[in-house]
């Protein structure tokens, strides 16, 4: 017996067309395309079927694809994740949806100790081509157990890849790349982005893993931001520009493997760097970015200390004003960037 794994799909030639859709629709579009092409791809998770997903992301896919491949589960994150691992090891390409990224805590053993390690630990004998999708982030009033930004946990695990799409097009393109990938890929979506719209390339497109986006270039400072903070950074950059400060904005998109080349290049070009994450400050993803910069040759180009803007080191509170105060907002980015440029 050989344990087959479906060969990575190659993208159909891009037609160059785009259409406006929401981030949530873009995720669904990616899954629809992948499932249409490859019978090994399936979705599994709590309420992904008739209910359409806790955030409506799977929507009516069950009616298009059927309950076998848009598979409702019991409330058993660890079991589902393990079932995903077992299926991925034996020829399937599961997409496991976790309703809130906070509940990856339940499934941590299968994510960190199994999925991520099996390929290495078994000497390369088998792959675990699975995708884990989970929404992170605050802003919906769901309080401490439903609002975390836990990407750092996953970035710290060798064997996982970690993706955080910030636009609708990336949500589609990165997810299709993740489904192709022969490794477990954690895709952290953002609740507040689900309903945002953008131009999305039609058809079987890709955004490659491991390549950062630079949606704006400017000479005065480099703002590196992830997830929902990318749009806040871009909004802040507009305001800063009106005030004569020109910012480069970098969105790593893939947190692991990280495109440090783009980061270092843009940092060298501006000499000032502002790191923005929604996650709590201590040991968030930007701590790593900071460490990479300050041990690199970009260190010599820095005109100012590296500045981090991050979530407060607290559980996310319920009260709307408190919740808002817990994570960086546009005005915080403007203030920090201004300070950085004016002071240094």
């Amino acid at each position: 017996m050989t344990i087959e794994t479906t060969a990575a799909q190659t993208a159909a030639p891009a037609t160059g067309e785009t259409v406006t859709m929401t981030y949530s629709e873009a995720v669904r579009d990616a899954m629809r395309i992948a499932m249409a092409k490859d019978p090994a791809v399936f979705i599994m998770g709590e309420d992904v079927g008739t209910y359409g997903g806790a955030f409506g992301v799977t929507g009516e896919l069950i009616n298009e694809i059927g309950p076998d491949r848009v598979r409702d589960t019991t409330i058993s994150e660890l079991g589902i994740m393990g079932a995903g691992v077992g299926a991925a090891m034996t020829g399937m390409r599961p997409i496991v949806e976790i309703q809130f990224s906070d509940f990856t805590a339940q499934a941590m053993d299968q994510i960190a100790n199994q999925a991520a390690k099996i390929h290495f630990m078994l000497g390369g004998a088998v792959n675990v081509p699975m995708v884990i999708r989970a929404p992170g982030g605050s802003g919906t009033g769901a309080a401490a157990q439903h609002s975390q930004s836990l990407e750092a946990w996953f970035v710290h695990i060798p064997g996982l890849k970690v993706v955080m799409p910030a636009t609708a097009d990336d949500a589609k393109g990165l997810l299709l790349s993740a489904i192709d990938d022969p490794n477990p890929v954690m895709v952290i979506e953002h609740k507040l982005l689900y309903k945002t719209s953008g131009e999305v390339r039609t058809g079987d497109i890709r955004t490659p893993l491991g390549v950062a986006a630079v949606p704006r270039e400017g000479k005065d400072l480099t703002i590196i931001a992830t997830g929902v903070e990318v749009s806040r950074a871009l909004e802040a950059a507009e305001i800063l520009a009106a005030d004569g400060i020109e910012a480069t904005v970098v969105d790593p998109r893939t947190l692991k493997p990280l495109d440090s080349d783009t980061i270092l290049r843009t940092v060298k070009a501006t000499g000032r760097v502002l790191l923005v994450q929604e996650a709590v400050r201590t040991l968030g993803f930007m701590s790593e970015v900071s460490a990479i910069i300050s041990e690199s040759d970009a260190f010599g180009y820095l005109r100012a200390p590296i500045k981090r803007l991050a979530g407060l080191d607290i559980p996310i509170p319920y009260a709307p004003k408190l919740e808002r105060a817990s994570v960086p907002q546009v005005e915080d980015i403007v203030a920090a960037a201004t300070d950085l440029v004016r002071k240094w």
């Binding site: 008739t50 157990q145 009260a319 408190l322």
Partner: protein
């Protein structure tokens, strides 16, 4: 034999008041959400009021409960103050959690409620721990873990029950089987005629009761609590009931039929209880009207006072993380 609640004026009035409080509190919450005056998400237990009411009637004030995302009923039934609950949901400094927790984390430790929990089955091993603590401290307290049917798919549920059974702890696992875990039917999910069949696999007693009947829930809980207090270990109770509303506001009710909902609306635990109490002579129609009216007044004033309270402040967020 256990006390006949419906025949006992005081208990019947208290039980009816508790059910009305839960109903009215949640209707108010629903209304406030609907009008955009409340934030976040909400899980309403309208239709399920008899379960916490009957169960908490069997508990002492210093007994513990752990609760769920659908926890307003447990909190009220265990004795919490509706004003502080409403204040919490309105994100006020006077709320039970100073506006930090909201609906999914309401707790009132003074009445033994160790907290609602946003994590399905999260409270189950915590209840086991509270029961362990009671046993080690020799206090004769009992812990009740309220949980849903869906929670029984979780490893946390399993591990909490395994430990309690091994140590024969004074804890009651009380499943509010409202037939669905979000959209997943518990009949489909668990492959069992009744969920109490699960209990055998842990070597503990299990029983299924009508969760819309206060007396039935009370009787089963009383028996379990008495056994627990006497050192007889844990019990599993399945109380069959139904939630009238969707799982939360995002629910389009696609997984169940209008007929099913209507059928269960016909089993409304409140008029059921009223009829029983009238028949048993525990309450007169005048008593019944008075209870309902009093609760309405009480709730109205709770909402008003909660509304008037100061908003939660962000000043000390960082210093509120660690106890000193």
């Amino acid at each position: 034999m256990n006390t006949q609640i419906v025949a006992n004026r005081e208990l019947a009035a208290a039980s009816l008041a508790t059910m009305w409080k839960i109903r009215r509190f949640e209707e108010a919450v629903e209304d406030l959400y609907g009008r955009g005056l409340m934030h976040g998400t909400m899980h309403l237990s309208i239709g399920q009021e008899a379960v916490p009411t009957g169960a908490c009637l069997a508990l002492n004030k210093d007994d513990y409960i752990t609760s769920t995302h659908r926890g307003h009923g447990h909190c009220i039934a265990k004795g919490a103050d509706m004003e502080r609950m409403m204040a919490e949901l309105l994100a006020k400094e006077t709320g039970y959690c100073r506006g930090r927790g909201g609906s999914m984390h309401i707790a009132d430790t003074a009445t033994g409620n160790l907290g609602a929990n946003g994590i399905v089955a999260g409270g189950v091993p915590i209840a086991t721990g509270a029961a362990l603590s009671a046993k080690m401290r020799g206090t004769k307290q009992v812990a009740v873990s309220f949980h849903g049917d869906g929670a029984m798919g979780e490893g946390a549920w399993h591990e909490g029950v395994v430990l309690a059974a091994m140590w024969q702890l004074p804890v009651v696992f009380l499943c509010e089987n409202n037939l669905y875990g979000m959209s997943m039917s518990s009949e489909k999910a668990f492959n069992l005629d009744q969920l109490s069949d699960r209990a055998k696999g842990y070597g503990i007693p299990g029983v299924t009761v009508d969760g819309n009947d206060v007396q039935a829930v009370y009787d089963a809980t009383k028996e379990a609590v008495d056994r627990a207090r006497a050192g007889g270990g844990p019990t599993f109770i399945e109380a069959k009931t139904y939630r009238w509303r969707g799982h939360s506001k995002s629910d389009k009710n696609l997984y169940r039929t209008r007929d099913e909902i209507d059928e269960w609306r016909g089993k409304d635990p409140i008029p059921l209880f009223e009829a029983q109490a009238l028949a048993a002579g525990g309450l007169t129609q005048a008593d019944i009207d008075a209870v309902r009216d009093n609760v309405r007044t009480e709730l109205r004033s709770a909402v008003q006072r909660a509304n008037a309270a100061p908003d939660a402040t962000a000043d000390d967020l960082l210093s509120a993380v660690y106890a000193r």
